[in-house]
C-alpha cells in the first residue's frame, strides 16, 4: 500500500510526508498539483497549510487544481483520501465533503491543543481509536468554523459521518470546548462510504512523544490496519 502527499504551494506537506516516511517507515511519494494522472496510490493526503496563500477563500484555488479532479475519481473508486486542516477546506471546496468553512467565531486564528471525541471508530482512518475515546490533537486555523444546514447536519449524524467532535477533557461536548464555533462541535467528517475524511486538527503534528503526545500516530496506523484487513481477508495485522 502506498501513500501520496499533494504538495500545493504554501502547504505544509513535508509534515505529513515525514510522519509516513520517517515515523511509520512506509512508502510515500509527493504529488504535484498539476498532476493529471494518479496511478499506484492507495491513500492520498491533502495536507494542512495555506495553499496558494488562501487567496479567494481558504482552499478555493487548490480545490480547482487539476489534481483534485483526479482525486475525486480516485475517491469515487474507493481510494482513501485524507484532508487535514487546509486539506479539509479543499475537500469542502471541491465538493468531496458536504458543508463549508466560515471564519472562526471569535475572529481569531486559533493555535493550541484541543480535546476531541472519536465519534466513529469504524472508518479506515480511526479503527485504532475506541468509540467515544477522548484524544488530544493540535489545531492551527483561522477559518475552521464548520457550517452545514440543519438537514445536512441531521444527515451527517444519521450516517455516522461525524468522526471527531471538539470536547472538554471529560469528553463533554460543551460550547466552551468549541474553539471556532463549528456546528455540532464538529472537528472532522467523512463521506457516506467512509473513504474520504476531512478534519481541522493536525494528527501529523502529534505523532511522536517528543511533540507532546502521539495520539495522531494512530490515525496513520489505522490506515495501514484497514489496508491489512482489506487485502488479507479479514486478518488483523499485529505491530
Amino acid at each position: 500500500m502506498k501513500f501520496g502527499v499533494v504538495f500545493f504551494p504554501g502547504a505544509n506537506a513535508a509534515d505529513c510526508f515525514y510522519v509516513i516516511d520517517q515515523v511509520i517507515g512506509h512508502p510515500v511519494s509527493s504529488i504535484q498539483p498539476e498532476e493529471r494522472e494518479l496511478v499506484g496510490f492507495d491513500c492520498v493526503i491533502l495536507p494542512g497549510g495555506f495553499s496558494y496563500g488562501d487567496y479567494l477563500r481558504a482552499g478555493a484555488l487548490a480545490g480547482a487544481a487539476p489534481v483534485v479532479e483526479q482525486i475525486a475519481d480516485f475517491a469515487e473508486q474507493g481510494g482513501l483520501v485524507l484532508g487535514i486542516g487546509n486539506g479539509f477546506q479543499i475537500l469542502l471546496n471541491a465538493g468531496l465533503l458536504p458543508g463549508a468553512m466560515r471564519k472562526n467565531e471569535n475572529f481569531r486564528f486559533c493555535c493550541r491543543d484541543v480535546f476531541l471525541r472519536v465519534e466513529n471508530s469504524r472508518t479506515p482512518f480511526t479503527n485504532r481509536y475506541h468509540q467515544g475515546e477522548v484524544i488530544k490533537y493540535p489545531i492551527a486555523h483561522g477559518e475552521g468554523n464548520y457550517y452545514v444546514d440543519a438537514d445536512g447536519l441531521a444527515q451527517l449524524e444519521q450516517n455516522g459521518q461525524v468522526v471527531f467532535r471538539y470536547c472538554n477533557e471529560d469528553g463533554e461536548l460543551i460550547p466552551a470546548a468549541n474553539p471556532d464555533g463549528s456546528v455540532g462541535n464538529i472537528a472532522g467528517i467523512c463521506n457516506v462510504k467512509g473513504n474520504v475524511l476531512g478534519l481541522m486538527p493536525h494528527p501529523e503534528r502529534c505523532s511522536e512523544e517528543i511533540l507532546g503526545n502521539a495520539y495522531g500516530l494512530r490515525l496513520f496506523l489505522s490506515v495501514l490496519d484497514w489496508w491489512g484487513i482489506h487485502t488479507q481477508e479479514g486478518v488483523m495485522t499485529d505491530e
Binding site: 480547482a64 466560515r102 471569535n106 475572529f107
Partner: protein
C-alpha cells in the same frame, strides 16, 4: 469586450466576523447610527467575448465554479461593454 463587476456577499444568517468587527470599530469611533456592516468581495473581470448573452453565461459559470461558495455566499454582477 466586456467588463464584469462581480459582488460576492455572505448569505443572510451566515456569521460575518469581519463585518461585525468593522461595525464595532465604527461604533467606537462614535458612529452610533451604523446598524449593520456587511463585508464582501468585488471582482473585476475583463472578457474578450463578443456578445452579451454569452458573456453573461460565462460570468455565471465562473462565479459558480470558483468565485463563489454557494453554501455560504450570494453573488450579483454587472456587465458592461468596453472598447478594446
Amino acid at each position: 469586450m466586456f467588463e464584469a463587476a462581480v459582488y460576492v456577499t455572505l448569505k443572510k444568517g451566515i456569521l460575518d466576523p469581519e463585518g461585525k468587527a468593522v461595525k464595532n470599530s465604527l461604533r467606537s469611533l462614535g458612529y452610533e447610527q451604523v446598524e449593520e456592516v456587511k463585508s464582501g468581495k468585488l471582482f473585476l473581470l475583463k472578457l474578450k467575448t463578443q456578445d452579451r448573452k454569452t458573456a453573461e453565461e460565462e460570468v455565471r459559470q465562473i462565479c459558480e465554479k470558483l468565485l463563489v461558495n454557494k453554501v455560504l455566499e450570494d453573488y450579483t454582477f454587472e456587465l458592461r461593454e468596453v472598447g478594446r
